[in-house]
Structure formats: C-alpha cells, structure tokens
C-alpha cells in the first residue's frame, strides 16, 4: 500500500484536496496509521509555527500606527502622490522604473556597440598587387592607342616595351653614376622634351590616363573598357596630371619628339654623356621584387642590367634568366667586363618593321609576358597569351608569324602549367599545334613538341 505523498499530506492540512482525491486520501488515512501520524504532525507543526511567529504588540501600537504612516508620508513629501495616474503612460515613467531604465540602457548599449562595429569595419580596402585577382587585372592593361598624327613612329621608341630580361649587353656604368641614391628620377612619359631644343612636346594618347576615385588607376582601352593599371608605387592610387593635348604639327615648325626615357647603351668611360642622354642607373633593389616590372616603366629593347653594386637585382635576373633558358627562350652571354647579360632570342626590335598598330600590340604582348614571367601566376599568362593572339593577325604570312605563334603557344602552355584546367589545356594544345604546323626546325620547335607531349600526357 502506497502512502500519501508529502504534497498530498500538505494539501490535506490546507484543505486543498477536493473531490475524488480527497475521498481517496481519507480512505487511505482510515486504514494507515503512519500517514495519520504524519498528518497529525504537520497540523501540530503549523499550529506551533503560527504561535511562534505571531506577535501582538498591543492595541496602543495599532491605534497610533496610521498616524505614524501619515507622518512618514508627509515627511517624505509624498502627500498627494497617490493620485491616479492617467491611462497613457508618459515617457518619464520609463525612467522611473529601474527595470525599464535598465532595458533602455541595454538597448542603447547594443545600438552604440553596433554603430562602433559598423564604423570600425568600414575600412577602405587597398588592393595589393600581389593578390592574384589584382595581378590578373594588372596583366590586362590595355594596349597602346594609335599614335596621334604628326608623331613619327620612329620617335616613339620610348613607348616600346620589351621584357625586362630581354636586354642586350651594355657598358657598365661608372661607380659615380651608380652610387645608391644618385639614380636619376624616373622619366615620366608625359614630361616630353624635344631632343634638340628641350622644349616640351605633347604626350602620346596612350599615356592619357584617366584619374578616378578608384583605389587603383584604370585606363580606357580601345574597346571602351576600364582596365586597371598597376600603380606606380604598387600600392595606392595617385592621380596623375593629365598631359596636355597633342599639338598638331605645323609645317615649317620643328617636330617635337618624345625624349627617350632611357639612353642607348653607354659608351664606357663617358658617364657624363651617359647621364645627359638619360641613362638611368639601376637602383640596387630594382627588379628584385615581384612588383618591379610594374613599378618600372618599360625598358628599351637594348638595355643592360649589369650594375655593379646591384647584386640583388642581378641575382634575381639570373634566376629568371635560368628559368628562361630552361624554356629555351634565352641565351646568356657573359662578358668579363660587363657582368651577366641576358638576351632574348628573337629580338623584340624585329617587330619594329610592323605597322604601328601591330607593333603596339606586339610590344604590349612582350610587356605582359615580362609581367607573367615575373609574377608567375596563371592569369598573367592568360593575359599574355591573349595579347599574343591579337598579334598573330598582324603578322600572318610574314617572317614574324612563327615567332609570334611560339610566344602565343608558350604563354598558353605556361598558363596551363601554372594552374591546369580543361580550358587552358585546350587552349595550349591548340596554340602549340598551330605553331608546330608552321614551325621550322630548331630549338623552339623542339620545345613546343616537348610541351605538347607533356600536355597530351
């Protein structure tokens, strides 16, 4: 037989059990002495507790109690404060209740915290060139625009670019001209001066860059697209001053041509002449970083990289040259008095004989190839390949078609090699087969066949 629970006993003491529950409990109590004893104990405990807790202070105490309460109310200045409040709660009621005041404070804290977080996270993200996405965009720099009328193609050699590694031997500069910190300021392509008179001349259209509020500079290409351009310092956008509009050539007046940014190979022992001619000593750290190709303007076709005191740069170029030799692209010629010199096979000036548009496309493709070789990411090689593909149309049937197709195929293959994908593999295979279809015997053909074999493997 189960006994009554404590709760049933307690409810019985209070008379809180009703109906069937009460009847069942009473039936159980009639037969269970233990539960009766427990219930009796609870009743006695309640009675004793009531007696213990009760206290009668006396009638006199209560006679004056109301008066003392009234006196306390008046002392507290609360007389009249009991008036019924209007139905609509006022805003001040929120600030009288500690609980509501705490709620208001918590909400204010959350709102303020959210605002601080929003402000703190609204930082302008400065693009870094080493990021793959930016690198790929940089590699998509627009090709140079057609030259303005009146400017002879021969005078635009400064705008022609060649891979940084594609340098020809150059006489070493004297130590005085190569000392660190004595480097000539980088020639600005917009600061054009006449080679003879020194008067300023108009800048070519391709250098008319459009300042914008973007975090990186863009240039509008022929298709009207804004293509990002690598910032000169490699990090932040700096608006450039727009060059003056090209001045049309007037018959009878001298034609101002652009001052070459870099001098022709220097004659040894003539540093002063070399500096006057615009030769730029190589800074000690130039060319060593991955961004050097973007920071430095395109170099002349014949450009020496030999520089006493610039071991770092030479070392980096040696590594790149070794990489190029492995690909069968470059030869190395060492001359004891000039240091290591790198030279590209198929000199870039071979494209000089092309029409201006095709030549510009070729120079752009060469520059993008240089960038791709420097940063070595697949998107850069994609861009170089696309640039070489555009060159092919202008050289078809000519002596440069084979060289162009080789560069095109190489760029496609390198892109696939860096980040293999089905699309890149198909593009590389197509480019290599197109090159091999017309390629003469030689090292380039051998390389292409080896690449195709690897691709098809």
């Amino acid at each position: 037989m189960s006994h009554l629970t404590d709760e049933q006993q307690s409810a019985l003491v209070d008379g809180a059990l009703e109906g069937g529950a009460r009847a069942a409990a009473e039936r159980h109590l009639a037969t269970c002495a233990e539960c009766r004893e427990t219930l009796a104990g609870l009743v006695a405990q309640d009675r004793a507790l009531a007696s213990t807790l009760e206290h009668e202070p006396g009638e006199a105490y209560f006679e004056s109690f109301a008066g003392r309460v009234g006196g306390r109310i008046r002392a507290a200045g609360l007389a009249g404060a009991q008036a019924r409040e209007p139905e609509g709660r006022s805003l001040a009621d929120w600030f009288r209740s500690p609980r509501k005041l705490a709620l208001v404070g918590a909400v204010a804290t959350v709102v303020a915290g959210a605002g601080i977080v929003m402000l703190a996270t609204r930082e302008v993200r400065v693009p870094a060139l080493h990021e793959p996405q930016i690198e790929s965009r940089v590699a998509q720099e627009a090709p140079p625009a057609p030259l303005p009328p009146g400017i002879q193609p021969e005078s635009q050699s400064v705008t022609r670019s060649a891979p940084l590694l594609a340098a020809e031997p150059m006489a070493p500069l004297p130590a005085a001209g190569l000392a660190k910190g004595t480097a000539l300021p980088q020639a600005d392509s917009r600061a054009k001066t006449d080679l003879v008179s020194g008067e300023p001349t108009a800048a070519p259209a391709r250098d008319q860059r459009v300042p914008s509020n973007r975090a990186y500079e863009v240039r509008r290409n022929e298709a009207g697209e804004d293509v990002p351009v690598a910032p000169p310092d490699g990090s932040v956008y700096r608006p450039r001053q727009t060059a003056p509009a090209p001045r049309p050539a007037v018959p009878g007046e001298p034609v101002y041509v652009q001052k070459p940014r870099y001098a022709e190979p220097l004659a040894a022992g003539k540093p002063a002449d070399a500096l006057r001619a615009g030769a730029r000593p190589l800074p000690a750290d130039a060319g060593a970083s991955a961004q050097s190709a973007d920071k430095e303007p395109p170099v002349e076709e014949s450009k020496s990289v030999a520089a006493p005191g610039a071991e770092q740069a030479v070392t980096a170029r040696k590594e790149l040259a070794a990489s190029g030799r492995r690909l069968g692209l470059m030869d190395r010629g060492d001359r004891a008095d000039r240091g290591p010199v790198l030279q590209v096979r198929g000199t870039p000036e071979a494209f000089d004989g092309l029409p201006a548009q095709s030549r510009a496309l070729a120079k752009n493709a060469q520059r993008l190839t240089t960038i791709a070789e420097t940063i070595g990411v697949a998107p850069a090689w994609d861009s170089a390949g696309a640039a070489w593909e555009r060159v092919i149309e202008g050289v078809q049937g000519g002596p440069l078609e084979s060289e162009t197709r080789f560069q095109f195929a190489r760029a496609r293959f390198m892109a696939w090699q860096r980040a293999a994908s089905e699309k890149r593999g198909a593009q590389a295979g197509q480019a290599l087969r197109a090159f091999l279809a017309h390629a003469p015997q030689g090292a380039e053909r051998d390389s292409a066949q080896a690449w195709l074999a690897r691709l098809e493997k």
């Binding site: 629970t5 209070d14 004793a48 206290h55 009991q82």
Partner: protein, 198 residues
C-alpha cells in the same frame, strides 16, 4: 484550487474597492482607513519574517508608504491584501539583502512568554513549550526566504493558495509544492534541533 481560509477578510470586497478609488482620488481619510484595516496582518507578516518588533514596525510603515505612492496604479476591484503583503514581503527581502544575514531571533516571544508564565499556573510546562517554540523559530529561520514567506502567508495569515500565488507572483501549483517542501524541510530541521516533532 480551493483552500479554506482560516481568517476572514479584513474588509468587504465592495467597500475595499470604494476605499481604493477614493484614495486614488486623493482622499486621505480613505487611505487612512485602508491602513487601519490592514495594519495588523501586514505587521504580522513583517514580524513573522523578521521576528523583530522594530524591523516589523519599520517594514509595516514602509509598506503603506509604498502603497500610498503606488495606489494610483492599483486596479480597483482586485484584492488589496495580496498586493499589500507582496509589498511587505519584497521589502523584507530587500532588508535581508541589505543586511546580508538571516533575521535574528527576537526577544519579543520570550517577553510574551514571560507574561504568559506570570499568568499560568504550570511554569514547567510553559518552559517546555517555550523551548519548543524557540527551537521551531530557529528551524524556521534556517529555511529559505521563499519557504519562510509561503509558510507565513499560509500558516500565519491563512491566505488561500490563489492569494499566496498572487502575493508571491508564482502559479498556484508552485504554491502547493513549495508549501509541501517547506513543511518537510521545517520538520526535518526541527527534528535535527530537538530530536522530536512539534
């Protein structure tokens, strides 16, 4: 849940509502009548929880001062005593928190017992009863505030489960279970002190 109140209501419900409305309208005499009607039960609650006449006096007066401040927000027609006793219980809890201690056993029961000793013929029996009350008061003081409050409202004030629930702001079922646990706990603590049941 039905309970049988042991003590009758202090004021008739209709009269109570009239007094509340009058007090809300600024009638000082009406509020004074409310004080007179409920001063004894409020004092009992305060004393039962503190077992100190001075604290009980202060708490009882403060209960009515707070009621005077808040009666404008009280809904006329609702039972007034649970609202008042709730104020008293909350003020007692606040007092306990301020003092960070359990209420001390007052000497008033002993004084009261002394008066009774003088009136009764059997001092030995009175002494034993006084000892029992002392042990029971000590056991009650060891209970939690919630158990003390529910026992006080039920045993001393004879409130129904519903009124206790309204006073403490808990469901009636909680009152039932809390009362049961409080009684069991009190019995156990009293046995531990005296070695016998009350």
């Amino acid at each position: 849940m039905k309970t049988v109140p042991r003590r009758s209501s202090q004021v008739e419900p209709g009269r109570e509502a009239d007094l509340v409305l009058a007090a809300q309208g600024g009638d000082q005499a009406a509020f004074a009548e409310i004080v007179r009607h409920f001063q004894r039960p409020i004092y009992r609650v305060a004393y039962a929880l503190t077992r100190n006449a001075s604290d009980a006096d202060d708490l009882a007066q403060e209960t009515f001062v707070r009621a005077y401040q808040a009666i404008g927000r009280f809904r006329a027609g609702e039972p007034l005593y649970p609202w008042l006793s709730r104020i008293a219980v909350n003020l007692t809890y606040s007092l306990f928190r301020r003092r960070k201690r359990r209420p001390e056993t007052s000497i008033e029961p002993l004084v009261e017992a002394g008066r009774q000793w003088a009136a009764d013929d059997d001092p030995a029996e009175r002494a034993a009863e006084s000892e029992q009350h002392e042990q029971l008061a000590a056991a009650f003081a060891e209970l939690s505030h919630e158990h003390q409050a529910v026992l006080t409202l039920r045993v001393v004030e004879d409130l129904s489960y519903d009124d206790i629930a309204r006073t403490l702001g808990v469901p009636a079922g909680t009152v039932m279970s809390r009362l049961s646990r409080a009684r069991v706990e009190l019995r156990a603590r009293f046995k531990a002190r005296s070695g016998e049941g009350p």
